[in-house]
């Protein structure tokens, strides 16, 4: 029976492709053993049944047979049969899904209870809607199930399948993409898969198009978030979504990018603070998170909380203001942040300290961020420590060493005082032949000796270099010199500036606390460290190696003698020679723990001003520099390390600084005759070779820059500063994203202005950059042609204006007191007295000076819209405006052609220009101060401000030529242009200040807006700018040729002068009329 059956199978199987039989044969032994006979038969039947479904369904059977042996390992025989049945039903019903079902089963069932088998099959088959695409999706689902189940429970899988199904109604492609993304995503999600799936489901309902983006961004953002917080994050994301925050995927990506910048351990804390924001104002949440890294840079977490709380308070009264607050785009936000933070930013104090330094030094000292100096690559390398190169004090970008703001500020102050002290007290003015007051001069004798030996005839570029040339161990001498000199400067400052000395001492003792333990150093280094600590004012005994105790005492003695207020830099040099002499004999070897002895040097301090070189030192000093002077420390030199830098002193490079200064001087006199010995190429080379100030950092491995390159950079730094090109061209536009933060004016001729955000009721700090340029020059024939074409009017206007000029003296009568008695009034008074009525006592007159004192700025809107043609048919015949003078005519003709088109119509801007020319003519007649500017621009970082005539510039042909080139450009951002003009006018000394705004339409610019409120935003900013002008005593007047102008001008110009021209042709006349009226 059995056999018969078997042959039956074989017979049937033989009708199928050989693959089936092969697979069957392979699996058969295993299955026969596992299943009962009946079950085995059912198995074979199922296979045959499936294979007979269609021409190609044998393939399914092959898969069934193939996976069956594996399945036997996963399932009990009963469950196996159930699996088989489900599979058979599925395969028969939807042949397309069969293969996927069977081949995915091993993986899927690995993580699935047998009872879910049929549900699983249902999930898959539900996705199949009879189309090819849905089939593919369904197959994908089966194939992915195994992997998905690694992450999900079956219930979650079911929800996920539901999601896929719903999504598929919108798009199969999207659905299957999400499926494959989900495979990568689920491992990242953490525990709360259900949450994630329901968020996905939610998204399908409200915005299925975003799903892919959401998945993509989740995939990118989740790894950035602390795993324990991911669930929370997604929850918050869902709440954000349900509360209607637009563009969710992007938002979560941005949030996660911000979070990435924060320590993962703090994510929870941050989300704690941020979460309540969603209830208050959902879109505040992402903004808060986005800003938090910046805020956390300045303040600690508890302060972040109070910052957030302030924002929340603001949310209740002024949501827009609060949004700006969270974006750190309002002055209030900045200020609050500044108030709560303990750190002090360089940018916040640079103005204050710069003036402070200038006051102290009496020189043109600039302040800059240390990084700038490092970037110049001229020898300085530490970007976070203070330093100076003789003309500029470089300070670190931010200081947050202490918990109190005042202390951090004090640090800045002490640091800059020290740096300025180097300049004020002459560290860089070392003169080799200068006298030292407190030591005998050894330099010159030594100099003679060394130059004899070396025989070098290249003279040193600087005095200080000459000095260091005296030493064999240049590094050591530089170290000694730096320490002693810094100590001297410190002493001098403390003496000179009594007020700061307390703070100074506290900074010094803080620096002392950071010094390395002397006992861990080698002998020579220990003695140098001793020197450093003395220079920092250490009074406690310091350990020194026993055997060098006398040397140590001598060092202390010399150093103490030098580090006081009476010494000069030359004394430092002498002290350096002496200490060097002592140290060169000290072997830089390790010292045993027991060989240290504390050196109590307190009693030495009361020695007074009597100083003589310690005994024994004299002789060795004499021997120094002589031919083959014994150099015992020679072999150990390799191991010598310079002492650790004192942080508040920073880098000290006297050699480089003096060289730079000298080079600068040389640069200044390059054209003229320069008598002082100039620095030659050889000198520079010599310098680069010898100096240790450069090789120091090369050893530290800062990039591959060579000394030569540094020298080159130095030359660039001092001499060849290319003047910024004044080419007034309408240069390329740099685009900065509107959502960015504040801007800095880093180029010359650029100015930064705040912008008013009416919604927030606050300024956006440093929001716009105004770039001031000269208008390019065209032909001056244009000017002439206009004057000619208006011929009569020009004369008439000129005459009218000349009448405006007042007499300088005007007699004023009937005064109580004055220059003289007015006879008429006196007679009247006498008559009054005689007739008995009360006399009028005002009978004096005096001359009063009445002078016209007017400054006016014309702001010309040169936005693109001024290119609009003036709609009139009577086009002006070009010929009629042509100049009669043949030369001018040719020029005029050429310029016409140059413009490319033969315009026969007039544009708004043409009329603006004509009006301007008439006005110039008129104003020149009365001699008022005036400036003419055009403005346009594109975006807040590119407000172009074209100077046509600067207020302090005289009228010239240049101006004429510039007028020719006024042409329509970009957009209209009025606010910054007005503010810039205001600042120009404010600096002028005039009684009447007038700002004439001539525009064609409303202010508008890219991003001159907040979403949906573009018009109001621009209008309000413009209004605010005009208000600012008024508060500075400037009288603004707007003249517009926009026919719809009334709409916005009314809100903008309440109680301010404005006028809308109905007929644009009236512009020139009207402008003149208005000018006359306004200025008298």
């Amino acid at each position: 029976m059995n056999n018969k059956k078997k042959t039956n199978f074989n017979k049937i199987l033989k009708t199928l492709p050989p693959d089936v039989k092969d697979q069957f044969d392979k699996s058969r032994p295993h299955l026969e053993e596992y299943l009962t006979g009946d079950q085995f038969r059912l198995w074979v039947d199922s296979g045959v049944q499936i294979a007979s479904q269609s021409n190609s369904s044998w393939d399914i059977t092959v898969n069934l047979f193939r996976v069956s042996p594996i399945m036997t390992g996963l399932l009990k025989p009963d469950d196996f049969m159930k699996w088989l049945n489900v599979g058979e039903d599925l395969a028969c019903q939807y042949p397309m899904l069969g293969t996927a079902y069977f081949s995915s089963s091993p993986a899927a069932l690995h993580n699935m209870q047998a009872e879910h088998i049929s549900d699983w099959a249902d999930l898959g088959s539900n996705l199949y809607k009879g189309t090819w695409k849905s089939g593919t999706l369904s197959n994908r689902f089966f194939e992915s199930s195994g992997a998905l189940l690694e992450q999900l429970t079956f219930e979650e899988l079911a929800r996920f399948a539901e999601f896929i199904d719903i999504l598929a109604k919108h798009s199969y492609d999207l659905s299957s993409e999400c499926l494959s993304l989900a495979l990568r995503l689920f491992p990242l999600v953490g525990d709360d898969k259900t949450g994630f799936i329901s968020l996905s489901l939610n998204l399908v309902e409200t915005g299925w198009r975003q799903l892919k983006a959401f998945y993509d961004s989740s995939l990118k953002s989740l790894p950035k978030i602390d795993p324990s917080q991911r669930k929370r994050f997604l929850g918050l994301a869902e709440r954000l979504h349900t509360s209607g925050v637009p563009n969710m995927p992007n938002t979560i990506l941005e949030i996660s990018q911000a979070l990435q910048l924060i320590n993962k351990r703090e994510h929870g804390q941050l989300l704690d603070i941020a979460a309540p924001l969603i209830d208050l104002h959902p879109s505040a949440f992402p903004e808060f998170i986005k800003s938090s890294p910046i805020v956390l840079n300045k303040v600690s977490f508890d302060k972040l909380d109070s910052w957030c709380a302030e924002g929340k308070r603001l949310l209740q009264t002024n949501p827009d203001g609060a949004m700006a607050f969270f974006k750190i785009e309002s002055s209030r936000s900045e200020k609050f942040l500044e108030d709560i933070s303990s750190s002090v930013d360089f940018s916040a104090i640079s103005n204050l300290i710069e003036l402070y330094c200038r006051a102290l030094a009496g020189e043109e000292i600039n302040l800059a961020d240390s990084r700038e100096l490092v970037e110049k690559n001229i020898g300085w390398v530490a970007a976070d420590s203070p330093t100076t190169e003789g003309s500029t004090v470089y300070l670190p970008e931010t200081v947050d060493r202490y918990s109190k703001k005042s202390q951090n500020f004090l640090w800045y102050k002490v640091v800059s005082t020290h740096q300025v002290g180097r300049m004020e007290f002459g560290s860089f003015r070392f003169n080799f032949y200068g006298t030292s007051h407190r030591f005998d001069n050894l330099r010159n004798a030594l100099d003679n000796k060394t130059s004899e030996i070396a025989g070098s005839n290249v003279s040193a570029a600087t005095d200080i270099q000459r000095f260091f040339n005296l030493f064999e161990e240049r590094q050591l001498s530089l170290d000694i010199f730096s320490i002693v000199e810094d100590g001297r400067v410190d002493a001098k400052i403390k003496d000179e500036y009594k007020g700061i000395s307390k703070g100074y001492k506290s900074i010094q003792s803080d620096a002392l606390a950071l010094r390395p333990n002397v006992r861990e150093l080698k002998s020579r280094e220990a003695l140098l460290e001793l020197l450093v600590q003395i220079s920092l004012g250490e009074t406690q005994p310091i350990s020194v190696p026993k055997k060098y105790k006398t040397q140590a005492l001598n060092i202390v003695k010399i150093a103490r003698h030098c580090m006081n207020a009476q010494s000069t830099v030359e004394d430092t040099a002498e002290a350096t020679i002496r200490i060097y002499r002592i140290l060169i004999d000290v072997l830089n070897d390790e010292v045993d723990e027991d060989d240290w002895d504390p050196l109590d040097f307190e009693d030495e301090s009361s020695e007074g001003d009597n100083f003589s070189d310690p005994e024994g030192l004299q002789q060795s000093l004499d021997s120094m520099g002589s031919a083959s002077g014994d150099d015992p420390a020679d072999t150990l030199e390799e191991n010598y390390n310079s002492p650790q830098e004192v942080d508040y002193r920073g880098e000290f490079k006297p050699e480089l600084t003096q060289l730079l200064e000298k080079l600068r001087e040389q640069g200044q006199f390059r054209d003229g005759d320069n008598d002082s010995e100039s620095i030659t190429q050889e000198m520079m080379e010599e310098f680069a070779q010898n100096t240790v100030e450069l090789s120091q950092e090369l050893n530290e491995g800062v990039g591959s820059i060579t000394n030569d390159e540094v020298v080159e950079n130095m030359l660039k730094e001092v001499g060849l500063q290319k003047p910024e090109s004044l080419e007034g061209g309408q240069g390329p536009l740099v685009h900065i994203d509107e959502t960015g933060g504040e801007l800095e004016a880093d180029e010359p001729e650029t100015f930064v202005y705040d912008e008013w955000d009416f919604r927030a009721g606050d300024y956006k700090p440093r929001w716009c950059i105004v770039r001031q340029k000269y208008m390019a020059e065209g032909e001056d024939a244009y000017y002439g042609s206009i004057v000619q074409s208006y011929g009569n009017l020009v004369m008439q206007v000129r005459r009218q204006f000349e009448l405006l000029v007042p007499e300088t003296m005007r007699k004023q009568r009937r005064l109580q007191d004055g220059e003289d008695i007015d006879i008429d009034d006196v007679i009247e008074t006498m008559v009054d007295i005689k007739t008995g009525s009360s006399p009028n006592e005002k009978m004096y007159w005096r001359r009063n000076k009445v002078h016209r004192d007017v400054a006016v700025v014309f702001l010309l809107d040169t936005s693109a819209s001024t290119a609009e043609a003036i709609d009139d048919s009577k086009s002006i015949n070009d010929q009629s405006t042509a100049p009669e003078d043949p030369v001018e005519y040719m020029l005029w003709l050429r310029s016409r052609r140059g413009e490319g088109s033969k315009r026969t119509y007039k544009r708004i801007i043409d009329l603006e220009k004509e009006a301007l020319i008439l006005l110039i003519n008129a104003i020149e007649a009365i001699g008022d101060t005036y400036g003419i500017y055009g403005f346009s621009g594109y975006g807040r970082e590119n407000v172009e401000f074209y100077t046509i005539k600067d207020v302090d510039e005289l009228f010239s042909d240049k101006v004429k030529r510039r007028i020719d080139r006024i042409s329509p450009l970009h957009a209209t951002r009025m606010g910054p242009a007005i503010r810039h003009s205001t600042s120009k006018l404010a600096s002028l000394d005039a009684r009447t200040k007038l700002m004439f705004l001539i525009s064609d339409g409303r202010p508008q610019d890219r991003g001159y807006s907040r979403e949906g409120v573009e018009k109001e935003y621009a209008v309000h900013d413009t209004k605010m700018a005009l208000d600012e002008a008024r508060s500075k005593g400037i009288n603004p007047f707007c003249l517009t040729v926009d026919r719809n102008g009334h709409d916005y001008l009314k809100t903008m110009m309440t109680e301010m002068g404005y006028e809308v021209l109905d007929d644009i042709h009236a512009l020139p006349h009207r402008l003149l009329y208005l000018y006359r009226k306004l200025t008298t």
């Binding site: 710069e354 003036l355 005082t417 007020g499 220059e819 000076k849």
Partner: protein
């Protein structure tokens, strides 16, 4: 300007007739350079003098000092040789006129006043100085109206005449008369500069803030404080003057430092004294004030 009332009342207040005012005690003045010799020489030759320099460096004090010093010499000479001119003052009178925008020529020369039903001529301060032969000191002369130059010119060349137009007179200056002007080239705008035709009738003595040690000595004397504090004040003054090119119209004058010293002497804490007497007086600019505040804090404990 000195008081204009001509009738002196003795009881309630001290009042001087303009031309009779002269210094009775030696004013405190510490010479910085050779200005004393220069002025003496110029006076001896009756060459008019211009004092140039910022406010509060001692221009007015110097002219007072010189009038006293020259007056003392005058007295000596007279007593020794001839005493015929009894009406002549023993001392050299000093007529100081602070010029202002509305100061006109008639303010200087004089005018008719109505008294009852008749007019009375009243001499202006310049006329009085010319008549009596004293030093006439026109402070901040560029402020005055241009018509004053009409008077200055004939007085300052060989003529030494004052035209009194309204009375049809031409007054010859008395022997001791000397015109001294002061002006501050720093803060006036170019519009208000002295004309060359005027400038070149004078010799110019420049005044600058004294060096730290001298200034400290002055401050210490004037404010009656000890020299250490005075040194610090002088140091502060020096540092603030360094800021002159950076938005500060003019540096802290010695006068301000003395005020600060006086406040300190009266028991005000030094930093506070400097704040009100120096810092807030030299500038209204907030950022400059802050910087000066820091400088003050660095100097004073």
């Amino acid at each position: 300007m000195a008081t204009k009332t001509s009738n002196s009342t003795k009881s309630l207040y001290q009042s001087y007739i303009i031309e009779e005012y002269h210094l009775k005690q030696e004013p405190y003045y510490v010479p910085v350079g050779d200005e004393i010799q220069l002025f003496e020489a110029a006076y001896a030759q009756r060459i008019p003098v211009i004092f140039k320099g910022p406010t509060g460096v001692g221009k007015t004090r110097f002219v007072e000092y010189m009038s006293w010093k020259l007056g003392v010499n005058l007295t000596k000479v007279k007593k020794g040789k001839k005493s015929e001119n009894a009406t002549q003052q023993d001392n050299l009178p000093l007529v100081t006129i602070a010029c202002h925008e509305d100061l006109t020529a008639s303010d200087l020369v004089g005018r008719y006043l109505l008294e009852g039903d008749q007019t009375v001529w009243i001499d202006g301060p310049l006329t009085r100085a010319v008549k009596v032969g004293g030093i006439c000191y026109l402070d901040e002369v560029v402020e005055a109206r241009k018509d004053t130059t009409v008077l200055i010119h004939p007085l300052t060349d060989h003529r030494r005449m004052l035209p009194v137009e309204k009375r049809g007179e031409l007054l010859e200056a008395a022997d001791g008369f000397l015109l001294v002007l002061s002006y501050n080239p720093g803060y006036q705008s170019a519009l208000k500069d002295l004309k060359h035709s005027t400038r070149q009738r004078f010799v110019s003595i420049e005044f600058n803030p004294p060096p730290r040690e001298i200034e400290a000595e002055i401050v210490s004397h004037e404010a009656k404080i000890d020299i250490d504090i005075a040194m610090q004040l002088a140091q502060l003054g020096e540092k603030i003057r360094n800021l002159r090119e950076h938005g500060l119209g003019e540096g802290a004058s010695t006068r301000l430092l003395i005020y600060a010293g006086k406040l300190i002497a009266a028991g005000i804490e030094p930093r506070r004294a400097c704040q009100v007497a120096v810092n807030w007086s030299v500038t209204d600019d907030q950022s400059l004030q802050n910087s000066i505040e820091e400088v003050t804090a660095s100097i004073f404990e």
